[in-house]
């Protein structure tokens, strides 16, 4: 089994209806992108779950390292001025 090339892993993203984004729904194996699309159709949209599919070979995804979560994501936590509730307005201004 050592030098054998197995079907690579693909990540599957499905858009459930137009207007919504593609969402990651799982992964599967396929020898090429065409087959990955077909397999995704057969595996992940059996119950009418989709109108569009993206497939990406898993190895092509670059992911952030959770060990860097501190420097990556925590600095955003105290930037409260980016949120509307940071600003004081009189109650008379109803919707803004």
């Amino acid at each position: 089994m050592s030098d054998k090339k197995n079907w690579p892993l693909w990540e599957i993203f499905v858009r459930s209806k137009n207007g919504l984004e593609h969402r990651h729904c799982g992964s599967l194996h396929a020898s090429d992108s065409e087959m990955a699309l077909e397999n995704a159709r057969d595996v992940y949209t059996r119950r009418n779950e989709g109108v569009s599919i993206w497939v990406v070979e898993s190895k092509n995804i670059t992911a952030s390292n959770p060990e860097h979560n501190g420097e990556l994501f925590e600095p955003a936590q105290d930037k409260v001025y980016r949120h509307p509730t940071f600003y004081d307005l009189p109650d008379e201004v109803k919707h803004m």
Partner: protein, 318 residues
């Protein structure tokens, strides 16, 4: 990493789980967590695909077209569920091929219930009703387990499985309301599948290993005995409703406990099947290994074709 650092990480890790935070694939995790999850999740995946065989056995003989499409769709779902679970397990750094290897060499286990034969059509009813019923009891709490990919796979599985048990119960109901011959067929299936279904929820708490750790990691929310009691309490009235008799002379409602008392389970039989000596262990493995080996040239061909295509594409790009 020093021992102290590791200990520190482990404490933080356990604290995250205790706070109901999910663990994701790239997060640091104790090796034992990884290994335990690989074992349980792959075992779960194996059970799905070995579980296709006893029911697949009746696809060509289903008594009506309506039953045939329902059964086909159900067995197909099991393939899907195996696939979701293998994929989720792969996030822990083991390939599907390695997991198959473990299954085929007997190193990995799968649910013992699938080592019983399906000998009449009523077995399709009994499996859907009892085996899927017991499986749901096991699986629903896992939608909340600590490992993110497992929890997400289980949410999908549970959502899709909701029709499986209904499908089985409907088959049983139809038989129970049918001719004498059909009623007997249903009762016979219940007789054969009842005890193995109880065993499916695992050995008694006294004999069960790993439970405490599994509880902490939310791989388990209730003990085997509690799950078993839950299964019995929910299933007995369903049998009553369609006029079938649970094959246990000791089965009795216990007013005080608000639960059914039930008879002794034959654990010798359970361990015999677990150890590979059930009626169908060898056949099930032969079928899985056979499919895998017969498929090898197909998988190789697809891979070779994909590589040729890729090369062509690269050449054209130059």
């Amino acid at each position: 990493m020093s021992e102290e650092q590791t200990k520190n990480l482990e404490d933080q890790f356990e604290a995250r789980i205790a706070r109901d935070e999910k663990i994701e694939p790239k997060d640091w995790m104790p090796e034992k967590y990884r290994q335990t999850h690989i074992r349980q999740m792959s075992q779960h995946a194996h059970s799905e695909i070995v579980g296709m065989l006893p029911e697949g056995n009746w696809i060509t003989r289903a008594p009506s077209l309506r039953r045939k499409v329902a059964l086909l769709a159900k067995v197909q779902d099991e393939a899907g569920h195996g696939l979701y679970l293998y994929s989720a397990t792969e996030t822990l750094g083991i390939s599907r091929e390695e997991m198959y290897e473990q299954l085929h060499t007997g190193k990995a286990k799968y649910s013992s219930i699938f080592n019983y034969p399906t000998i009449t059509w009523a077995d399709m009813g009994a499996i859907g009703w009892l085996v899927d019923g017991a499986a749901i009891i096991n699986q629903v709490p896992l939608c909340n387990t600590s490992y993110g990919p497992y929890a997400r796979a289980m949410i999908r599985v549970c959502k899709e499985e909701s029709f499986h048990q209904r499908q089985g119960y409907e088959i049983m109901m139809k038989l129970a309301n049918g001719t004498t011959e059909q009623r007997e067929m249903a009762q016979d299936a219940l007789n054969r599948w009842w005890w193995p279904s109880l065993m499916m929820l695992g050995p008694t708490d006294a004999e069960s290993v790993h439970t405490e750790q599994s509880m902490k990691w939310k791989l388990k929310r209730k003990s085997n005995d509690d799950l078993r009691q839950q299964f019995i309490d929910q299933t007995v009235p369903q049998a009553d409703l369609i006029g079938l008799t649970i094959p246990d002379p000791d089965l009795k409602w216990n007013e005080e406990r608000g639960s059914y008392d039930f008879g002794e389970i034959d654990w010798d039989e359970f361990w015999q099947v677990v150890k590979g000596h059930g009626p169908m262990n060898k056949e099930r493995m032969k079928a899985r290994v056979g499919a895998w080996e017969r498929g090898e040239w197909v998988r190789d061909a697809a891979m070779a074709h994909a590589e040729k295509k890729q090369e062509q594409k690269e050449k054209q790009a130059v």
